[in-house]
């Protein structure tokens, strides 16, 4: 009797195990949090050196059109105008999303409402396959197929925003599609049956009921796609031409933030202005990915289907 009473109040192997378990899992999560904080810290501290150490004016950096960090302009100031890259990055991102969205929604509708059985069975693996293709392979096909094709049609080198858009369109298509499928599947079945029962045609149901109910989540799907496009580096770098020029049309070489980074970070010396300026580009990328993240959260919070 006494022994059992003693056991009831004494720590045992099990209680020690639990302490071990907590320590292990808390350590792992702490490591990840430390990692995220240090990424934010290091990129930010490097990225602002252009403005704090080299005293470049932030506005000039964002609005200047001349990018030649190694040399000074007529007024004796470094030429670090990032506008061409910012414009190009946004152009390819928005254009790719604009082209991809109708296709993605069409495929998603086909899988959820038009041919839910055969369509989903065939298209699901297709989409997963597209997601799995590495970005360098997309870049390579862009370089060997898309760029020559554009060159053939418009002359010039063939690289530029158009080539970048086409490559990114194919890359973000599966991302947006699979999220759009989730969005449409999340619309309760009775939304559909209620509308059809009122005599609406399938298209009326899709257009007036389904797309509207799923709109917030469809929007997040598109933003996810845009985030992927904005941050994509190598595939774009291979087809964009990498000349830091303000884009005047869609078929002349230009440069995105990511392509400029990948092309040049290895050719500059740590701590110099040309290097710091590149880190500032990385900082813009980081901030934009935070913005996309916030947008997705904001829309996600507002758009939960109320039923």
């Amino acid at each position: 009797m006494d022994e059992i009473q003693k056991k009831l109040t004494a720590p045992s192997k099990a209680s020690r195990e639990d302490v071990t378990g907590r320590i292990i899992s808390y350590t792992c999560i702490a490591a990840i949090i430390t990692l995220v904080i240090s990424i934010l810290y290091f990129i930010t501290s490097r990225g602002i050196a252009t403005f704090t150490t080299n005293h470049v004016n932030l506005w000039q950096f964002l609005s200047g059109k001349e990018w030649n960090p190694g040399s000074l302009n007529a007024k004796g100031q470094p030429q670090v105008g990032a506008l061409p890259m910012i414009v190009t990055s946004f152009s390819v991102t928005i254009l790719a999303a604009l082209v991809a969205t109708p296709f993605a929604i069409a495929v998603a509708l086909f899988m959820t409402d038009i041919a839910p059985k055969s369509g989903a069975k065939f298209l699901q693996p297709v989409i997963e396959l597209l997601v799995g293709i590495p970005s360098v392979v997309y870049g390579f096909i862009g370089l060997t197929v898309v760029v020559p094709f554009i060159r053939h049609l418009f002359g010039g080198t063939g690289s530029g925003i158009l080539a970048g858009t086409i490559v990114l369109f194919v890359m973000v298509l599966p991302t947006i599609t699979s999220l759009a499928v989730d969005a449409l599947r999340a619309v309760p079945a009775y939304f559909r049956s209620a509308s059809l029962a009122l005599g609406a045609t399938r298209f009326q149901t899709i257009y007036k009921v389904l797309l509207r109910a799923a709109m917030p989540r469809l929007l997040t799907a598109v933003i996810f796609g845009m985030a992927r496009a904005f941050g994509e580096a190598l595939a774009v770098q291979m087809v964009i031409g990498n000349a830091v020029l303000m884009p005047h049309n869609l078929v002349t070489p230009t440069s995105t933030l990511t392509s400029q980074l990948t092309t040049n970070i290895g050719n500059t010396i740590m701590g110099t202005l040309p290097n710091n300026a590149l880190w500032s580009l990385a900082l813009i990328l980081l901030l934009m990915s935070l913005v996309f993240n916030l947008l997705i959260r904001y829309i996600g919070k507002r758009g939960e289907i109320k039923s």
Binding site: M1, I4, Q5, K7, L8, T9, S12, A14, S15
Partner: protein, 266 residues
């Protein structure tokens, strides 16, 4: 629903030796200040079956799960639970030891995704029993006690998930008694079973009272009257009446109990 006077109660203390008792037990879920279980003071006699009955939401399962501290993760439990002269509802008490002595079987059969034998040996090994002969013997004896041995003795290495619902539930009982507990808590163990499995289970439970004290939650009043010696009636988080089962079902003291057992309830 008719409102009953919840302060009107009739609670006895059984004359037999008491295995477990609670004193003013209160349960609060989450951050709620509303008690889901109010001032439950009950004593459970040794080597008997005690049934806890009441409508859904009456607090009977909440109460049962508090007895071996299963509610620790999700609720605050106040008051005393006395087991072997120790208040086991104290932060100083080693809950893992408590649960070894007070086993539990749940509403839905929940065997592990392991073989039948491993289902039983897993916790034994964790408790430090490594002798293969002893493990084998415990598997056999617990399965026999749970009246499952004859059905599975040739399939001990098969997945437990391949068993029928009734067999799974008896395996869960075997798993619990393999730990050689004192007390067995059962939370509506037959609610997911067909009538034949239920009958088998009830026969098994009656057999088990030779060695174990059993407290069972059930919404099936026939079941309570068939197997238990004492019955407690719960209503809206209060214990309304506790007495010998015969008394509860034939001449209850409180009107709420009367209405419930005669089916004029709600």
């Amino acid at each position: 629903m008719e409102t009953y006077d919840l302060s009107q109660t009739h609670i006895i203390t059984p004359p037999e030796e008491i295995a477990l008792s609670t004193n003013q037990l209160q349960v609060y879920y989450g951050n709620s200040s509303h008690a889901s279980m109010t001032d439950a003071s009950l004593s459970f006699p040794r080597f008997q079956i005690t049934a806890l009955i009441g409508a859904s939401g009456s607090g009977k399962s909440t109460y049962l799960r508090s007895l071996n501290r299963m509610n620790d993760r999700i609720a605050r439990v106040q008051g005393e639970i006395i087991y072997r002269d120790t208040n086991i509802n104290s932060p100083k008490v080693n809950v893992y030891e408590v649960r070894k002595h007070i086993g539990m079987v749940f509403q839905k059969p929940n065997p592990f995704a392991k073989s039948i034998a491993e289902n039983i040996t897993f916790a034994l090994k964790a408790a430090g029993i490594t002798n293969r002969q002893e493990l084998k013997q415990r598997v056999e004896s617990s399965l026999k006690e749970a009246a499952l041995w004859d059905e599975v003795k040739d399939d001990l290495n098969k997945s437990a998930l391949a068993l029928s619902g009734g067999q799974q539930q008896r395996l869960c009982i075997a798993r619990a008694i393999a730990m050689k507990p004192d007390i067995l808590l059962l939370d509506e163990p037959a609610s997911a079973l067909d009538p034949i499995s239920t009958t088998k289970l009830e026969v098994t439970l009656k057999e088990l009272t030779k060695k174990y004290t059993i407290i069972i939650v059930t919404h099936n009043m026939q079941q309570a009257s068939r197997i238990s010696a004492y019955t407690a009636f719960f209503h809206l988080g209060h214990v309304i009446e506790y007495d010998q089962t015969e008394k509860i079902f034939q001449t209850p003291e409180i009107r709420a109990t009367h209405d419930y057992v005669t089916g004029n309830f709600g």
